[in-house]
Symmetry: C2
Amino acid sequence: MLKIKRLAIDTHPENTAFLLRHGNGYSAEQFQALRKIRIGSETSEILATLALVDESEWLAAGEIGLGEQAFRRLGLPEGAEVVIEQARPPVSLEFVRRKIDGDTLEDSEIVAIVRDIAAHRYSPMEIGAYLVACAGFMSTQETLSITRAMADVGEKLDWKSQLVVDKHCIGGIPGNRTSMIVVPIVAAHGLIMPKTSSRAITSPSGTADTMEVLANVNLCARDMQAIVSKEHAVLAWGGQVNLSPADDILISVERPLRIDTFEQMVASILSKKLAAGSTHLVLDIPVGPTAKVRSQSEAVRLRKLFEYVAGKLGIEINVVVTDGSQPIGRGIGPVLEARDVMAVLRNDADAPEDLRDRALLLAGHILDFDPELKGGRGFARAMEMLASGAALEAMERLIDAQGRQSEKFTPGEFTHEVCAPLDGRISMIDCHVIARIARLAGAPMDKGAGIDLLHKVGEQVRKGEALYRIHAQSETGLGFARDLAGEDSGYEVLR
Amino acid sequence: MLKIKRLAIDTHPENTAFLLRHGNGYSAEQFQALRKIRIGSETSEILATLALVDESEWLAAGEIGLGEQAFRRLGLPEGAEVVIEQARPPVSLEFVRRKIDGDTLEDSEIVAIVRDIAAHRYSPMEIGAYLVACAGFMSTQETLSITRAMADVGEKLDWKSQLVVDKHCIGGIPGNRTSMIVVPIVAAHGLIMPKTSSRAITSPSGTADTMEVLANVNLCARDMQAIVSKEHAVLAWGGQVNLSPADDILISVERPLRIDTFEQMVASILSKKLAAGSTHLVLDIPVGPTAKVRSQSEAVRLRKLFEYVAGKLGIEINVVVTDGSQPIGRGIGPVLEARDVMAVLRNDADAPEDLRDRALLLAGHILDFDPELKGGRGFARAMEMLASGAALEAMERLIDAQGRQSEKFTPGEFTHEVCAPLDGRISMIDCHVIARIARLAGAPMDKGAGIDLLHKVGEQVRKGEALYRIHAQSETGLGFARDLAGEDSGYEVLR
């Protein structure tokens, strides 16, 4: 028996345990060679990797030191007695091996894999093996199974309504902040739209990052329930609610391996929507040469997969394929995007038209879900909500309900203008390059960092005229962004 | 700049660095979120995972603590100044991603992958992704490329001879210790046979484990050169020489994922042989229902792959397909196998015939490589070397040259006999089950642990007659082995 000692060592995302090499009556190396050990009492257990300690200032014989993750996940007090033993590999790894061999898996086998992943029983190596084995070799049925299994293992929200609407946009288009316009329009009309969003992972800003410029977004499930019951809607960060936790774990492996299959995308998005209690979903697939989806035929394949899986899950879905050839709106980065959003909601004369049109299109499709609005009257109703100021009012109420942001964020004061190299017409804006420049400037961590696009595709510019302005909150950030923009501005200007 | 502090923490097999969460002017979490950081000076660099420390008794601001592996691999003294930064992912990961997408890789791309793996630039997750992407999707040309690349990244032995013979047996057959008989026969004849062997990974004993019962096997390349120049041969553990280091890293991921493809097997074996300087190779493929290769058609496919790759590498190969339906010899486990080997070499009347015959067969094929022995006279010459006692003499000289084992090992004194459940004929012995029982008894760590087979397939036994005897060096080991044998003896006796 070993006594637990809590160590102030953060080994995110892994569980790590520390054991003296000598003095415990174990062959500690043999345990370490196992790569993963089981640490358990009668009531609780975790798997962890083992580090061996050769000096004893902070660890004594008879103690097992637990890093923060391991200590928290085991959930036992300091001094509690545990045993360590060889971790039995999860049974579901057998199914992963069959998948590696090219087999198609049964529903129950996929459920077992997802449960073990959500319970942190898989190493990143094993998760990677599963994902690579699936990449390109996943049947529609398997995609459905994994989506349902992923939604089932986490928390689920229930809004006690037959009509809970949601929207999602396949990422990759900088500035595409339609949710913050669509949600108040739909709320003003009166449908229930509890929107959970992510923070940016690889982009310059996620909806949660941009909304945070205006209001608190760190809401737990109970906060969300209270706000939705009053305002019909919410614009929250999804990270406070444990929706589809397996998805977050899978993403942590997909990202470094850059595994980005349609099947995994469908499972990721729909599992979160299902767990969030959405019944009706409008899905926006922007298509463009530098977007995630590159061609119409790809978009059709993706649409069909979404429709099949959503249908089987009982989610009514409307897939809208849109123009993803360039960024939407003018601002990129939290503060600049929030500025655009509010300009649209206020009906400002100079509000970015493309952002307004895209938001109205999507809001219209969502309102079409309302049986009260017969015959495609959703779009007209969305325009009405926006033009009348009802959407702006709904947004202000939402901001107050979530908690108005006390800090006043402004665009970064270190600026640099990137100018046209010649007289001509802008023929292309590369979404990837623009996103990278904005991130180097400091977005989304520096809320005021980002890019303000002064001209868009199709516009005529004169040599030396500013194409866009980089904003940063530090000289360093500005330098990084300016250097990349110097190598590749992301703009193509043709004579 | 951070100052290196060496920490007595063994984080095998990973590089781990420890940094105070606060006080270094870094956003430490952001570094940790990268999963892998680069730690470097002008002269040296490593990649490592980062653990964050919240208490400072053993780590100060301005210090970066390095675990043993990281400290050793970085190779800088304590107090040396380093910077940490985002690890640029190895460029070759792009090729892995293309492989995941189903592409066939170029030679130069595979070389880049293998180099980065050997230099510890890949995480287990990334190695797993590569292996799974390859499993079942590797062309013959790719197999050749990876074999050559693996041999090229490590140390290479050169014996200054046109004829350096070697043998290899595809594993999975307990007791198959032919190398320790073949090598002295070939050495007695006078060919050069520097044999490097592995220790057991999943089996009850490797050739190196069994040879160690008789002699020192921990020989460096220089020791081996000296012994071979005098005795024509050596029977050493390969672990002291850095042959095909990428292979060891790949195996550390293949094993837990149980990836066991023919392509990877060919690359693993032939890369080691090429690096070991072998010019002529006899390869034994035992075929049987519980062996690694289950059918003749599988054996043919494997033989062809070995012949193609070996041919392109300039290794002359002779593939021998043998009976792998049951264990070879009587003893299983280091001491008991060494006993059998010496009995064969001494021409004892009760030496296991199957072990002698198999060794003579393989030795004969090896001697056929000798241009002096025309027309398949190798087998007769092998018999001559064994019968005359020349092979025994060569073995004794080899033992003396390597360093005779001072410790006297004996079979474990805790024994248990497993008996026939009925009168009948032994129809089958399961190699897997026998191997697992021997391992549970303590082999190969306890040299005297293992199994002594008293009857083999085809023999008649009476109910209650002992089929085999388990040896262990502890009551615990015997208990584990006895329990498993009670569930499944591994023997099938039919009336």
